[in-house]
């Protein structure tokens, strides 16, 4: 497959692994921001192929994992009110305070699993007597499509479509991690897909302020080892710069058309992150002009608040302070069929990656 098989090439990957081993002289901790990168590292067995000096720390970039518990309860409340709730597949098994969306569906709720929010607009159009809500979670990556769904619905004059927004932004999360007193990360692999939308202009000030290398990196095995190699090169040379490994998808300024749509519909606001807490200016909310499409306002569910489970250490996992296997519940009381927290459920969660692909020594 063009643009895929080349990046899964054994010889090329091995060549970078050899270069990393030859270059590294001391221990380094590198955090990959995105959950997709975590899975790429684990499912391709890359973690075991890296020299022992290079330790990968798994970052908070799993949109499902950082979506607060209360948002899931809000979506379930909507289903209980007879609303058709549309969601990406990852969200539906994540436990809320009482049940997951999937369990709410089994109890009679109308849940649709979609790949694109545009499909939800179609469902709204085809069901004029029903309210339709799209569960708009995700990082900057999914924001353009979610924003576009609102514009489509507006253009169609639909009054029965709205979105339940839980959009989060990567750079504020990186800052929150770096500000944490337990943080000992030496370099970041930046999230390639997020940067494909947003570009990486704003990363320069981060790299400068925190004196840390940031390598915008892709998701295939070759991307990952290449990104790690670039990080190790900078660290060994004492550099602290932003570099772009994923140049085939990422431009410095990002995708201008997508950014325009985002800014038309959303504005930056405070957001609560599951396991981390509220981070100022770390998410998107709908602009005042689009309040009619805000499910929280429309259905009066703003006040649903629930505490997080105390047994789940998701916060420490997401901030890279602990690894999944350091959690006493990992693989015992917490597993994918009976998850205590989101990182064990989501296809991008670090706990799920460890459980599925390396739950025991091979």
């Amino acid at each position: 497959m063009k643009y895929l098989s080349e990046y899964r090439n054994l010889e090329a990957t091995k060549a970078y692994l050899d270069l990393i081993a030859a270059k590294v002289t001391q221990p380094w901790k590198i955090m990959e921001i995105c959950g997709g990168q975590t899975h790429g590292l684990v499912r391709n067995g890359i973690l075991d192929l890296l020299p022992p000096e290079v330790q990968m720390i798994h970052g908070p970039g799993c949109p499902v994992c950082v979506t607060p518990l209360s948002l899931i309860d809000k979506a379930i409340e909507l289903m209980d009110q007879g609303v058709i709730v549309c969601s990406f597949g990852d969200m539906i098994r994540v436990p809320g305070s009482k049940k997951s969306l999937l369990e709410a569906k089994a109890d009679g709720g109308d849940l649709r699993i979609l790949y694109s929010p545009i499909e939800a607009v179609k469902i709204a159009k085809n069901n004029p007597d029903k309210e339709v809500v799209f569960f708009a979670v995700g990082f900057e990556t999914t924001a353009p499509a979610n924003a576009l769904s609102v514009l489509h619905a507006q253009k169609e004059g639909l009054k029965n479509y709205s979105i339940l927004v839980s959009h989060v932004l990567v750079p504020p999360a990186m800052e929150a991690i770096l500000d944490d007193k337990f943080c000992d990360i030496d370099a970041f692999l930046g999230a390639g897909h997020v940067c494909a939308i947003m570009g990486y202009e704003e990363y320069h000030s981060l790299a400068e302020k925190y004196r840390i290398p940031i390598i915008i990196t892709g998701f295939e095995p070759l991307d990952l080892v290449h990104g790690i190699y670039m990080a190790v090169c900078q660290l060994e040379a004492g550099k602290k710069e932003v570099e772009n490994q994923y140049a085939r998808a990422v431009k410095e300024e990002g995708n201008l058309a997508a950014k325009k749509v985002i800014h038309q519909v959303f504005e930056v606001g405070n957001r609560e992150w599951r396991g981390i807490g509220e981070i100022p200016n770390s998410g998107y909310k709908l602009r005042e002009a689009f309040a009619a499409f805000d499910a929280e306002v429309k259905f009066d569910i703003e006040n649903i608040k629930v505490p997080e489970s105390s047994a789940c250490i998701a916060g420490e996992i997401l901030r890279g302070i602990k690894k999944p296997k350091e959690c006493p519940a990992f693989g015992t009381t917490c597993n994918p069929s009976n998850p205590l927290g989101a990182p064990m459920v989501s296809s991008e969660g670090a706990c799920a990656a460890y459980y599925h692909f390396s739950n025991n020594e091979i």
Binding site: M1, L4, R8, N9, L10, T13, K14, G36, V42, R43, N44, G45, I46, D48, L49, P63, V64, C86, F88, G89, D90, M91, I92, R93, R112, I113, L114, Y115, S116, E119, I123, V137, G138, F139, T141, T142, H193, P221, L222, N335, P336, S337, S347, E348, Y355, H356, F357, S358, N359, N360, I362
Partner: protein
Amino acid sequence: MMDYSTINLGHGSGGLMTRELLDEIIFKTFSNPYLDKKHDGSVVKIEGEIAISTDSFVISPIFFKGGNIGELAVNGTVNDVAMCGAQPKYLSLAFIVEEGMKVEDFLKVVHSIKETADKCGVQIITGDTKVVERGKGDQIFINTTGFGGVNPKGHISERNIKVGDKIIVNSFIAQHGMAIMSQREGLEFESTIESDTTNLNFIANDLIEEFGKDIHLYRDATRGGLAAVLTEIADDVNMGVVIHENDLPLDRQVAAACEILGLDPLYVANEGVFVAIVDAAIADEVVALMRKDEKGAHAVCIGAITEAHPKKVVMESGIGGKRIVSPMIGEQLPRIC
């Protein structure tokens, strides 16, 4: 019967309308000496050991690229009997039809069942038809049970598996699941991927005829895909399984669709793929013989049984790393990004 355009509750009442439906559609289509007696059941003779398997089919949509629920209901059960090392001969056939199903669609399904049964060399010898109220079914559910004599030349059993045995698959994986996925509401995407639904009874029996007891196990990799079958085998026999990512037979279009949707082809359903675990000494010959059959044209050895890591399936990744293949929990879900 032709007076109706839809199936209604009367057709499941047991009265005249039921009789009409049976006579004009079921008996007429499947006519054979056993069924023609119109009795509650049939009496048949099968020599030696008998393999029996039952399965229910609830697929949605009922018509999909490369097949339909009727074809699936025959092939699925025929294959389950064949995986026991038996040659299926007879099939029971039970319908649960939802009120309002178009007669035209029902006929299409019935005719497809007949055509598929003929291809497999099985006869429908008993059956049942029930109609449920609208909303209590999903157009049509089908249950079939298959019966067949075990080939005495073979001996299919997990107990025969030993360290060093080779693992062979006959065809491209993940075709059926991706064909269905491409037609689900909200997920539609353009592709020409077709379901691989087919009968495996002849190819499976040919291998037993040729290699006898050196064929140690057959399993068809349906729901849960190849991963489900391999993880179950590793667990059952308390040995390890190692497979090689680069050797997995995967059609380019299916591989691309899996990439786009974020699905792992190892876990995607098949309806025409089986795993043969065979003595290492005959592995190459098994692959060669399979490839002579159109149903085994893409046969390939994907791995082996190991003493190391008992109860675990390990996949060597394309870049030389290793990972565990764990059993699937619930359904694979479309991802966010």
